[in-house]
Symmetry: none
Subunit: 196 residues, 4 copies
């Protein structure tokens, strides 16, 4: 899946990141070699190192970009939304459709969530915590709104419903991402909010 481009500098790094997403998604970060990535980008091995200082730096960039995009996307979609239920719908919908539209990113994000080490751990950890805090906050708010005390595990269980998709989601057979998002939203809200 080599990337064509104008060749202008700023695009090359993104091209590498996109190719690497695909390669890491297919083989897994550890099994994929930097040579595989170079082949996919149609660039020399050494050439990659002009743009990224290490293999892990590429993974870092993939994860950072994914989290930042998701956070931006939610920030925009949530602007002006007041109703906590609506907020949750918006966030689930954004998460699920983004994942469905960016399958490789989704795989890499979900599967390699504990792969980064050293200097790379913390910045991604921070993004991840911000992301979880956002969702947990909405869930709590929604509980308060409905007069239900919600377990701190609830949001994590919700993430499970969404993130596990990387193991089974198939655009050709699983239905539309929006349908799945609605489904997950329905299960979660009914399940968490209604008392038996």
């Amino acid at each position: 899946m080599p990337e064509q481009g104008t060749g202008s500098p700023p695009h090359r790094k993104a091209a590498i990141r996109r190719c690497a997403e695909s390669v890491f998604a297919q083989k897994g970060f550890d099994r994929a070699s930097i040579r595989d990535v170079a082949k996919a980008v149609e660039m020399s091995l050494a050439g990659l190192y002009y743009y990224y200082k290490s293999k892990e730096a590429i993974l870092f960039d993939i994860q950072r970009k994914a989290f930042e995009t998701l956070l931006d996307l939610h920030a925009e979609a949530l602007a002006g939304v007041r109703d906590p239920e609506e907020k949750l719908r918006v966030v689930i919908s954004g998460h699920v459709t983004y994942f469905a539209d960016n399958l490789d990113e989704m795989k890499v994000l979900s599967r390699e969530s504990e792969t980064l080490t050293g200097e790379f751990t913390e910045p991604i950890g921070e993004l991840k915590r911000r992301y979880v805090r956002l969702v947990k906050g909405i869930v709590t708010e929604l509980g308060n709104d409905k007069g239900v005390r919600v377990s701190p595990n609830a949001a994590l269980i919700l993430f499970g419903m969404m993130n596990w998709m990387y193991t089974w989601y198939d655009p050709a057979r699983s239905g539309s991402a929006q349908t799945i998002a609605d489904h997950i939203f329905a299960i979660f809200t009914r399940g968490v909010l209604r008392q038996t």
Copy 2:
């Protein structure tokens, strides 16, 4: 995490498997070297190969044993149970508590679900399909019982709630496994069965 034991032959293979679970859980299958496993078992590198013909064969054994144990465990727990709702409760409870009691196995099973290749792929694939079929069957049965048409994605979403646990479950902080199982059961049944 060396294994203590009588050293009698039949135990050695199981000891290797258990140590490997721990090593693979901590470092990931690909990053873990066979040397790491050997060190954990306190056995020589070559000694391992007397029991397992390859690194992948160990992973295979871990996965096979885990699926077989889960299937056996469910078969036993389901014996005599007629009510579909009760069946689901039993299965979720079995799955979640088994995972919580066997954190390493859970991690390896969830994280390395697509790692096996070649001759090892199919037997595990077959076990996995049997397992999914079991849960899907119960979910469908439950839907019929309640007069609700359940999406084929529902069971996969349920697996997400349970399997994603490997990323967040901490025995010291997440509450008892049984509580989590009840929680997931509640979310799922209420969410899936109640019409809005």
Copy 3:
């Protein structure tokens, strides 16, 4: 036997080949390790793999180059020769003196004639068949010229006389290669052509 040279890229692969000839000749292909070759070339282990994709690929290259050189050498030497007896003299002489001048190649070619596997087998097999065909053709032609029916084994026996040299030929003690070539030519022609 490290290679001296300008170090310019095109020479490196040939340098590796020559060192490997020497190493394989001394220890035998199987007993020689790629480390031995690397040491002989004064290059790192991994460096070799930049030029050759496997140990067998080096052996392949040695054998290919030897057969191609011999075939070229014969083609040139036979140009313009009509007399079958003269042709045979030329070929025997070329084969024996080439072997004597390239003792390592000779050893590797004779000793490792059945060592190559997989993708490497066929191309060398083809060269070998061409070579045998050339000699068999000349022997048959010579027989026809003298009105003698020559057994198909004759050429193989001739190859035996020449190729077995690798077990006994010692430049310091066996006499000149040309003398040996004359000797073999004499034995073969007299022996095969004269009726008792």
Copy 4:
């Protein structure tokens, strides 16, 4: 090619030797593992070491037995023979037919002629020298008889004709061993003895 036997001790060692001949002939001494031999004998790996102290010891035994058998065989066949020409015929015939009847031994003897090391080198070297001396002696005697000065290389060239057979002899296609022996005898005697 497992060996059946009465199980009585003296036979086991011979059985191992025969199986090893077959294994070494097929894969070459270096590529064949002691495990391959054990499998062929249908004996445990460790069991072999009761009979042979090392892999090389088996090769040694194969070579020793082959040379001793050949020497015995020649001694018997030469008893009472006076005519040098007849002596040579007898020796060539014995060598070639023995090789044809014991293809595996022939391969191992010819191919692994320089494989033995250490304590094993000398005893086999001594047998080899005795064998070469025998043939060289007959050739010289024959030359004297016919009034021809024979080069010391002649016998080595003769060995080449015979020993190279291991690369081409096929019982199904190469004709009878006796015919080949006659052929080699004819080529050698005519070629070496007749003056042009």
